[in-house]
């Protein structure tokens, strides 16, 4: 199925290129936009493993909501361009290549033996197909009921936290 591989390679290349672009850009705004590129290509890759729901959520929530929040903050803070770019410990950047190389090598060493090449046959009934809204919804309110509920605590807490930090003095 060479076209699937081509498709994978295209999105993978986009994802990696955008990811690298995050590092290469000086401006956080462009970095954020690059990240969105990665997110979108990931979303496409999700589809290739039949994770439709997550792919959608990736676009809607991640690329949509979260990244917008980022960009909003970037705009809000509006860091002056002429700010001197102090860099202490310049040596760190030279660690990037060896560290990255080592990490990728280690990961590949681990992942190399994995020989799973076929996705399970998707049954015709969406109720049994993994990745559909149905199956995810079902699992969310059965198996993952508690985590799901607990996320509400998390979000509430984050709300309170963000509020208390970000509001101006005297509020």
């Amino acid at each position: 199925m060479w076209h699937e591989k081509v498709l994978f390679i295209i999105f993978a290349v986009i994802a990696i290129a955008s990811a690298l672009n995050i590092l290469l850009q000086r401006s956080p705004l462009y970095s954020a936009l690059s990240l969105i590129g990665t997110l979108l290509s990931l979303s496409a890759l999700y589809l290739t493993v039949h994770a439709q729901f997550i792919a959608a959520v990736q676009i809607v929530v991640y690329a949509g909501a979260i990244m917008v929040l980022f960009i909003f903050v970037i705009m809000l803070l509006n860091v002056p361009k002429d700010q001197p770019q102090i860099e202490k410990q310049k040596g760190l950047r030279y660690l990037a290549i060896p560290f990255a190389g080592l990490m990728i090598a280690e990961m590949f060493y681990v992942l190399r033996p994995i020989r799973l090449t076929t996705l399970p046959i998707q049954p015709g009934n969406p109720e049994q197909a993994v990745g559909t809204t149905w199956s995810i919804g079902t699992a969310l309110f059965t198996d993952y009921l508690l985590p799901f509920e607990v996320t509400s605590v998390l979000i509430l807490m984050a709300l309170v936290g963000a509020m208390v930090l970000a509001r101006r003095e005297g509020d």
Binding site: I16, P28, I66, M107, L116, V130, D143, T151, A158
Partner: protein
């Protein structure tokens, strides 16, 4: 078919790029973006595993990770805002009064 290991490999590369980005970038927001990239790399692993295994658990995990990422984003950005208010800078290298 595209083998599972390709997905996992891609994920590893993205994770690595994110991890490296965290320590070579100096802008707090960019660093944060790199962390988000790492989370997404993990998500890719989870989703692809889940897809290849035919097990919904991984995708639910991703769903929760996204929530967490959102929460983290909110708080993280609040912290960045708060520090920017005091320092008028986002360069993390300037934030080193606590050391040794």
């Amino acid at each position: 078919m595209v083998p599972l290991s390709w997905y996992l490999g891609l994920s590893a590369m993205l994770f690595t790029i994110g991890a490296v980005g965290v320590f070579i970038k100096r802008n707090a927001i960019t660093i944060f973006l790199c962390i988000e990239l790492m989370l997404n790399a993990v998500n890719l692993t989870l989703v692809s595993l889940s897809g290849f295994f035919g097990d919904v658990g991984g995708q639910l995990f991703v769903f929760i990770v996204m929530t967490v990422a959102a929460a983290e984003a909110a708080v993280g950005l609040a912290i960045i805002i708060s520090i920017f208010r005091n320092r008028e800078s986002l360069n993390v290298d300037e934030v080193d009064t606590l050391k040794l």
